[in-house]
Symmetry: D2
Subunit: 486 residues, 4 copies
């Protein structure tokens, strides 16, 4: 094998990456950033223990001071890990050495490795969470505009791929908004369950800290704005698995939206188009093609996120007080699901913000069936006179004749005395006009847009605010030490 | 193929079925019961429409009167379905004919088939939900007793399959209780999202009922104690998929518990035993065997439920305004997940209620390592004198020597002056006694038992109460017609 | 809960079942049939052991005589199972009692339960296998006709949902045939791996039979026309998992075909139609609808079978020498995957045999793009003069202009001197005619049809022949005893 | 968010990476290497087309000359891709420009992008395939040694976690070898199905090359030592999905082996130990721990690979003639499954090569049941006198009494006259000695070791040979041009 590349690079780059901004999630999972979050926990632990008179205040202060990845030797940590095959020991050693005598020995006091990295990973995940909320907010913003734009655009409603009754395009978007809004509820509801601090020692029974254990955990949690765990067992990953489930549910919706756009872009429908910047090439051989490139990405990523859900669920089946294999399954499922969700949402925002709506084609597609689309309306009107069941039979027969003999539906109706005995031609014409049959599509669109605007604002605020708060947490821990000291 | 059996029977019977009561969930999904729930919806729809002056009160009364599966010809409905290949039309026709002229024509007025069967299926699912809550309540009850019983039973805590530090058995159960309690939160939180009434017509835009549509849906929902859908689109199954996710998460926990029991039953550990009634045979060739039969079932069903989650998620990807394939995926995933969850919980209750705890073996297993299990305690004591890092190195070396040379840990420690300089023999002996090192295991057990008792009571109440309410709903719809009429 | 139904019935009935014949697979998994296959193994075991002088010939003869489920008391077996919670013990006891003294004691000699039921299940699976091969044969037959019928029907080839270049409909079917043909190869290749006899005793090391063990297994295998296992370990289910994988792959193809048909049935395309017998109702409210009911079933079942693959794979992870949970996972995955595959193939055969092809719509759809579909042909012709890259740029610009300004492609080309400098109007017109651009579509269709005919014949022969052979196996075991005896 | 890292780095590094060599698979999927394989296809295409008089020989020669990634501007290709959002166009353009006038225009002649990258990806996958075969060969080598080493080491066979009957450790390994050997068969059988060349143009009907199309594809395939596709449709990924299935099956086995080792390492069993190099730290707080770190990795990766199988199967459901989303699913599933399989096998080789076997503990564990393990042997001996059913009852009662009353089994047997009437004490003692009851365990171990040695040699040869051949392919294409030219 002639391979001479000198270092390993990301192989995840997509050919569409140039068309979308980076979601900024991948970078949060990098070692350096992750380690900083772990250091935040070491610092908070030290402060909490100092406050509870377990370690000297000076030690806590020193540990806090050095819990800054920029002050540590990253290469030495990495090298140490390679040698001792331990997730965090070399980081702890580096920190301990940096703090030096006499305080270095108090680093990591009473903690087990997983207490630190799992709590730190929750800080990291919370940052990802805020990034995702912000991206979801931006998605709502784009959907709000779309729902408004398509409020009155009459198009075919389709069930089982068959034109059914007329709707407006905004109604479709209102459905997406409704589904998205429940994902937001889910993401809010999980917060107290997942953003937790764990400080129960090797197996979660506070063996190392004893009676003071729960207090240390509570104080540490407070410093990090996390919830203390009721039972700080390492064998529990239900909340993480649930998070992946929620991302899986979100992927169900993003996949549906992307698939819908891709279907509506079919040459024969051509009702909407994903934006295609100048210079983009869909096909090297068919210059006319406008492929749903980003929608395709979203569909693929939806499948990939959904495929991670069983992994996260399998991760829950720890043996005894913890099992390393399960921890790895859980961590990998979370990481990949978050990264893929970010990549999906950035694409979705680009698609929805720039979606071209082709009102003419929506209209002309409605006319393909020659009025069959109004069969329900005719049946209901007829039903008022001859009863619903009889009406269904009459209209069913006429509709089948129209479809099979390829004759206009109206013509057949006008020749069926069972129909003309009850409805005159004017009434029939009115009933056959799709625009009069859209029900409350427009109102539902408006309500959806309003709801989406509200969500957009709230989530972008919460997301940005949250990210700022994360930075403050780092600072507040520091401040706390100072206060204690004085 | 020589096959001469005259009718198809269930092939799902398990050889362990004789050991557990039936969960009573399978039967809820039978056609007859399901159809009754659909009829409840037809009745509620008629009543709601009568109240809103859409159909005559007399029609509603008649429809209500006949919306009783016991009064209809089940074989004719089934035969009709076989002929028309439609999920509900033959039921509607049967009801319509039973009501007869002049009111029969008002049956199903303005509804599309899926409005009825999806809303009815939600009524059915709510019954299943109450059955599950009751079973979960019973599980809590069994776990509460176990946590109390094992409160002070000292045993080995194990991480990565290796004995780590001592705990009590009750602590393990407290972890299960904690995880179960979050599933209850999830099951409560989903209720308003999933128990919804849909009455938006063919594609969900109220085309058939117009302005009155939302009112009909709201009234119908109220009669059935459901929540009206904001956008009654048929293309949304996020709530159903979420329900399967929650059952998947629950399966993560039940699988974990069952696996734990099965591991603790290993001949070499023998700390607990699944109850085995007289007459049960584990092996046809090895008469001494006591296999974890029910635990094995639970582990297998856990895998089966988890495998349904991706199906439910894939079901979300509807095309356009609805797709029949996706509806089938969703319905099948829900049905099987519920049935399997019921079969799991009944088994789990039998296991947990009758679990034999072998305190002697718990104790003797703790002595296998000759004190290595106390290495953390020794390291921490030593660390107070020589610092945590140095202490780790010293104890690590002695522990490795003990493991490799198979010498008692204590003996090695007593010959290591780095240890004896700091700790005398009495202190060492105390540190090496596992019973002194269980941390807050007992307190956590007690708290868990208390929590579990509370949940047990609440859930069994809610479950039973809920099932009674479901019966009342049927009645209240009837009552409503009477009131309207007078 | 008011439930008063007296016995549990199948809840798996589909509303479309009336439109398709039963696959006859469900019934093979019923207890009675399954038990007969287990009895066949008990008989073969006895015969083999008699031949190797392990048990008396008379005993083997008696056991063979009574290994007939029709002679045993099914209710007593079922009742026994309920009491002893053992998969097979009560069947063995019933057989043993039926044989009576002095030979009854030789029943099941040296066997462990799983030796019998796993080997019997393989006989059962082989019957299913033959049924599936026959159904696949019938599918090939339908595809062969379709490929011939559509050989010259010009239609749009579409990539990413966008019309790309013209093909014929037969070409599409040839692709399905090609994919199916590889599934047949897979199903053939797995036969020696999966159709195996296991007779290694409790853990597979022939402890009970010693040196004669492998000979007994070999003889028993020969009697049943199975392959003896190299290592008769019960902890191996790779072949069963592989079988589910192959059904998963087949489901990938059947799902693709069904989805394709469903897409081509979209109102806007209307190129093909699933047959719809008179009396079938697609919608209770929209009488004109012709839904892809059976195609939808196939799509849903595809998802369900695919979702069973991870279950079968997880089933492989046995602990130690066998784990009951894994056996259950494997057995359930196999059973459901086989049943669902049968239900899929019967539907697919109905769809493909009756598929309506709408040549007019295929043609008219091709004209939607106003010639854009021929852009590749024009680019290639142009490329011969000005080079491929330049040609791509020119045609790309003109195609984009046509799409954006909605002007006919030909008109734009005729106004672009970069084009007209190289190609005259006649050449352009010829290049723009789709029928001249179908490449080898027709030839590929013909080759496909021929291949499919060959497969159809072979598989239907092999399937039917196989099923007859299974019946003969039962007889030959009997015959063998006779021979031995004389 | 304070993020200031300048470039994205791999986040896939594991803390155990320092303990295992790199599998060298990740690097094969890097852009540069992948592009080289695509260039190989461009070269082969040009050569094939020259040979068939479609493009000038000089053009083919020039294209071949420049089809070398080292001669092209990688940054420009990457930049071009970012701009045009096309997977391969910027590489083609770069190659075309490098070749320059007059031959550059012949680059990619008649091809569609996917023809090139899919065929190239198959070349890449074949390299991965050879690497995997080599790693599997090394695994066989390690298993062969283990099977030999453990040939006569008597230990407990366990079913359902319960000690069942004695085996030798080598017997367990022989089971692994047997299962692995079938994976090799699968990997061989798939070769002709997956290593295929595709050159059918935009949709696979040879529209661009016409009658010469199949010949070009055949020639190109021959140059690359691939099989030509029967129907070169882009909508087929059954072979790729099958490859992922096979890796999923392999993951079933590697997961099983790793789980087994992890179970046997449990403190209470301690029969085997994963090697642990000096300096490795299992726990930051429990210095005595020896965690199954690499086994845990293997278990986790097994779950991750298995979770990719449904993704690959879902990838098969292309719409129409191809769908980009499905291609992405397939490609991502393949890539990740291969990388994870490589990481698994390297770990497995380290584990198996260095596995410590603790014969003393195997022996002492066998004595835990006080002879219960021999109940089958006693039952069979007893059965010869009093019949199998009666014997089962007697031994079952005695075994239960022994287990419940915790009295030695032998003692109880000696006090049961039903036993002593038939068997004397000497016979009983002999029957209770586990070493006499291992059946053919040792022979099966030996056979397994022999088989494994053979496979080891063959696969390492095939793997290394294959990789050399891949390098030659690059050369031979070049050579071919020369020959043509002369």
């Amino acid at each position: 094998m002639n391979i001479c590349y000198t270092f390993y690079m990301d192989t995840d780059e997509r050919f569409t990456d140039g068309r979308v901004p980076d979601a900024k999630i991948r970078i949060l999972f990098q070692d350096e950033h992750r380690w900083q979050r772990w250091l935040d926990v070491e610092a908070a632990l030290a402060v909490a223990e100092a406050e509870l008179d377990i370690i000297p205040v000076e030690a806590a202060e020193a540990i806090k001071e050095w819990s800054d990845i920029r002050k540590l030797d990253i290469e030495r940590i990495r090298e140490g890990r390679r040698k001792n095959s331990h997730k965090i020991m070399s980081l702890v050693t580096e920190l301990s050495n940096a703090v030096g005598d006499p305080h270095g020995g108090w680093v990591h006091w009473g903690a087990t490795a997983e207490n630190i990295h799992r709590t730190g990973d929750m800080l990291l995940l919370r940052e990802v969470h805020y990034v995702l909320l912000d991206l979801i907010g931006q998605s709502f913003s784009a959907m709000a505009s779309l729902a408004q734009k398509g409020e009155d655009m009459v198009c075919a409603g389709r069930t089982h791929g068959q034109q059914a009754v007329p709707i407006t395009f905004g109604f479709v978007v209102a459905g997406w908004i409704d589904e998205f809004s429940r994902h937001v509820d889910r993401l809010h509801e999980i917060e107290p369950r997942i953003f937790t601090a764990m400080m129960g020692g090797a197996v979660g029974n506070y063996a190392s800290l004893g009676e003071k254990g729960p207090k240390v955990q509570a104080k540490m949690a407070q410093l990090l704005d996390l919830h203390p765990m009721a039972v700080p067992s390492r064998a529990m990953s239900d909340a993480q698995a649930e998070y992946v489930c929620i991302l899986g549910l979100l992927a169900g919706t993003t996949g549906k939206i992307a698939k819908e756009i891709s279907l509506l872009m079919q040459t024969e429908l051509a009702e909407v188009y994903e934006p295609m910047p100048k210079g983009t090439i869909s096909s090297s051989t068919m210059p006319h093609k406008r492929n749903p490139q980003l929608a395709d990405d979203c569909i693929a990523f939806s499948a990939e996120v959904r495929a991670l859900v069983p992994l996260a669920l399998e991760g829950m089946l720890h043996d005894y007080e913890v099992n390393g294999a399960n921890t790895t399954m859980t961590d990998d499922a979370i990481k990949r699901a978050c990264i893929l969700t970010g990549d999906t949402l950035t694409r979705l925002i680009v698609i929805l913000s720039g979606l071209e709506l082709n009102e003419d084609r929506m209209r002309s597609n409605l006319e393909i069936t020659g009025g069959l689309l109004s069969s329900e309306a005719i049946m209901l009107s007829l039903g008022k006179v001859i009863g619903r069941q009889h009406a269904h039979e009459v209209v069913y027969e006429d509709a089948q004749e129209s479809a099979i003999d390829k004759k206009p539906f109206k013509e057949i109706l006008l020749h069926d005395h069972r129909v003309t005995d009850c409805l005159d031609e004017d009434t029939l014409s009115r009933l056959l006009d799709p625009a009069t049959k859209i029900g409350l599509s427009a109102k539902i669109s408006r309500d959806g847009a309003q709801k989406a605007h509200k969500f957009a604002e709230e989530l972008q605020h919460k997301g940005n605010h949250g990210l700022m708060k994360e930075d403050r947490i780092h600072m507040s821990v520091l401040h706390n030490v100072q206060k204690l000291h004085n």
